[in-house]
């Protein structure tokens, strides 16, 4: 089986959907002749033409707004944010226009907005963000955050086929670091709203997503080796809708929960998950739910500073040991 990177898996998913459905088109900054800042759409314009792979002005609101208008008319646009940090420039368009369209006006808006998120790459405050919490609060949107190459492909395909707007947050740290064997002919469609158990365990659950999945797996291996602790790692994959069943199941299995995300802590998604665990499985807990997150500061550039601010494997190990002892 061919070994495929996370980035190549995403490309394959986009490519297959473009081949399958002529309503699918791509618009964004430098996505055409240049192939995108990270080369996700390299070769697309040559294959599908400038009419379906559209280079836009630096206008995120226009990219999302135009995608919405075209989607109302039956198209399936995929918007690229060059870095996901720039999605905030389209915040109004996404939260006020796109997210409400079905509810208030019975207008279908099947768009995908995707782009590279995440830190650990020395990108500084404006090329490292994880904006999921800013959109989790908006009914009408869906949010997916693939961690594996298989899900990078399976979720972009499901997102394009979904009848509602989907924000697809890929992680740039994983682009070329993650490789997986993906069978060439297999149709991969990861269902939106379903979590995945990345590692079975019994002593403690780490609920996480995106690049933090791999940090959690690394911590789990170390704790297994050094402490005999078996961590269960739940990769949420979708944040909106969120897989309450999978969350409740892992809580009931291990009775101790660590929620790990790369975004800052205050107002972060971990708070929402904690509330859900309270509602779904309070009596199953043997310890308080704890969080491992970025510190509440803009993400700094210098490696020493970035490493301090972002959650590391050591943080997960230390927090897990604390929880296991509780």
């Amino acid at each position: 089986m061919p070994e495929v990177t996370y980035l190549e898996a995403l490309r394959q998913g986009l490519w297959e959907e473009m081949e399958r459905d002529e309503r699918v088109f791509i618009l964004g900054e430098d996505v055409g002749a240049y192939g995108g800042a990270f080369k996700v759409t390299e070769g697309f314009q040559a294959r599908f033409g400038a009419g379906r792979v559209i280079d836009t002005p630096i206008s995120e609101a226009a990219i999302v707004g135009a995608a919405a208008g075209a989607a109302h008319m039956g198209m399936r646009p995929v918007c690229e944010m060059q870095f996901i940090d720039f999605i905030s420039c389209a915040y109004d368009m996404l939260t006020n226009y796109v997210a409400t369209a079905r509810y208030r006006a019975n207008l279908a808006t099947p768009i995908v907005v995707r782009g590279p998120s995440g830190g650990y790459v020395r990108g500084g405050p404006f090329h490292s963000q994880n904006p999921e919490a800013a959109f989790l609060h908006t009914p009408g949107l869906k949010i997916v955050c693939p961690a594996t190459a298989r899900d990078a492909k399976g979720l972009i395909k499901s997102a394009i086929r979904d009848d509602d707007p989907v924000l697809y947050f890929e992680h740039k740290y994983l682009y070329r670091r993650i490789k997986e064997d993906l069978p060439a002919g297999e149709e991969i469609l990861t269902p939106i709203g379903q979590a995945r158990i990345a590692r079975e365990g019994k002593h403690l659950s780490v609920i996480t997503w995106s690049a933090m999945v791999f940090k959690a797996l690394e911590a789990a291996e170390r704790l297994s080796r050094e402490d005999g602790l078996e961590l269960e790692v739940l990769d949420l994959r979708s944040l909106l809708p969120m897989d309450d069943e999978a969350i409740a199941a892992t809580v009931k299995k291990t009775n101790r929960v660590l929620i790990a995300h790369e975004d800052t802590r205050t107002g972060g998604v971990a708070g929402e998950i904690t509330a859900r665990i309270n509602e779904l499985a309070f009596e199953w807990l043997d310890a308080p739910v704890r969080r491992v997150c970025a510190h509440d500061v803009p993400l700094p550039y210098a490696p020493t500073l970035e490493d301090f601010v972002l959650p590391q494997v050591d943080d997960l190990v230390a927090a897990s040991r604390w929880l296991a002892r509780y």
């Binding site: 226009a62 707004g65 109302h72 368009m93 006006a105 207008l107 709203g193």
Partner: protein, 350 residues
């Protein structure tokens, strides 16, 4: 500029291609717009209108004349702003729908979810605005992008105003549409005020049409209170768009004679300004033009008025006492395939 003086003389625009029946239709749509809003004022005073009421008194010509320049048989689509009720009526929205919207009835086009004229029907060719001004420009650019991609000879038209043109979304949308040479007409109603803010505090340009230069598209200014001139300039832009020549920015000079909404007492308006524009009323002007040119008789116009009153009587009688939406519908259709459930404490003893 602040809208202090109406244009000195009625425009001398010569209209070709409009039949006598079409000239009467233009009158019908303008009068229907005004009469419908007058009926809504009565319902508002009876507290039957749930939210605010937004008038287009004195601006009926700009909405009706511009929408009339679209081709409904070809599937052209427009997106109105709050003072473009007339444009929606021209596209086929009915008084009954508008009344139900304002009164939040279950049978309103949005089933009580949205207010006033915020509703849409792609088949009839209108997409309701949202309250965030400027947002409909990128959206309508996307509609026009679809027309271009699908090689359909259709045109989009989007309304903005002297206020909406200050937004980033306006700039991004018209610029993108211009770059892509999309079949889009951007109509800016310059009615002098955005809520209470006069145009001189929105922009330093003298004419909103001057901003077309920045987008590399033609910009024209016309008398927004002359329905035939509005029709003509918009028709030229629509034809241009349909021929693949891209975007036109049209500035229609008009005046908002009522406040932002019915509650607004217009204390910020200089004395005499509203009265001056009353003398430039678009319907009065059009009636004079029709009758003096022999295009319509007073009797014919009277018959149209009577027909409108009858239509409105019937619509109000039909919906005035209709129920509001059932609360159980509040959680449906947020998503196509994901249902929002009522909170856990609903159903517990209170």
């Amino acid at each position: 500029m602040s809208a202090t003086a109406p244009p000195a003389a009625p425009s001398q625009a010569v209209i070709s291609g409009l039949t006598r029946a079409q000239l009467h239709e233009l009158y019908y749509w303008m009068r229907l717009t005004r009469s419908l809003e007058e009926r809504l004022v009565n319902l508002y005073r009876q507290t039957k209108v749930i939210g605010g009421l937004f008038r287009s008194l004195g601006q009926e010509a700009d909405a009706v004349g511009s929408a009339y320049a679209l081709d409904r048989s070809k599937g052209d689509i427009l997106s109105p702003l709050i003072r473009n009720l007339g444009s929606m009526l021209v596209q086929g929205a009915t008084p009954l729908e508008v009344l139900r919207q304002y009164m939040a009835k279950a049978q309103s086009p949005t089933a009580g979810r949205e207010l006033n004229i915020h509703f849409n029907d792609l088949t009839r060719g209108f997409i309701g605005q949202i309250s965030h001004l400027g947002d409909m420009v990128p959206v309508m650019a996307g509609v026009a992008l679809h027309f271009k991609m699908a090689k359909q000879p259709r045109v989009g038209l989007v309304y903005v105003g002297d206020g909406a043109m200050s937004t980033g979304a306006f700039h991004e949308g018209i610029n993108f549409a211009a770059v892509q040479r999309l079949p889009l007409v951007v109509v800016s109603e310059n009615n002098g005020y955005a809520y209470s803010t006069p145009m001189r505090l929105q922009t330093a340009v003298k004419s909103l049409a001057d901003r077309a230069v920045a987008y590399g598209v033609p910009g024209v200014t016309a008398d927004g209170n002359d329905v035939l001139e509005v029709y003509q300039v918009t028709r030229t832009a629509v034809d241009r768009a349909r021929a693949g020549e891209g975007v036109t920015l049209i500035e229609l000079m008009t005046y908002r004679r009522k406040g932002h909404a019915e509650h607004d007492n217009q204390s910020y308006v200089p004395p005499g300004e509203i009265e001056a524009w009353e003398r430039n009323d678009p319907i009065d002007r059009y009636v004079r033009r029709l009758t003096e040119s022999g295009w319509a008789s007073r009797e014919e116009l009277g018959e149209i008025d009577a027909k409108i009153e009858k239509e409105l009587d019937a619509a109000i009688a039909l919906c005035e006492n209709e129920p509001l939406p059932d609360p159980s519908t509040a959680l449906t259709h947020v998503y196509e395939n994901h249902q929002i459930e009522p909170h856990w404490y609903r159903g517990l003893d209170a």
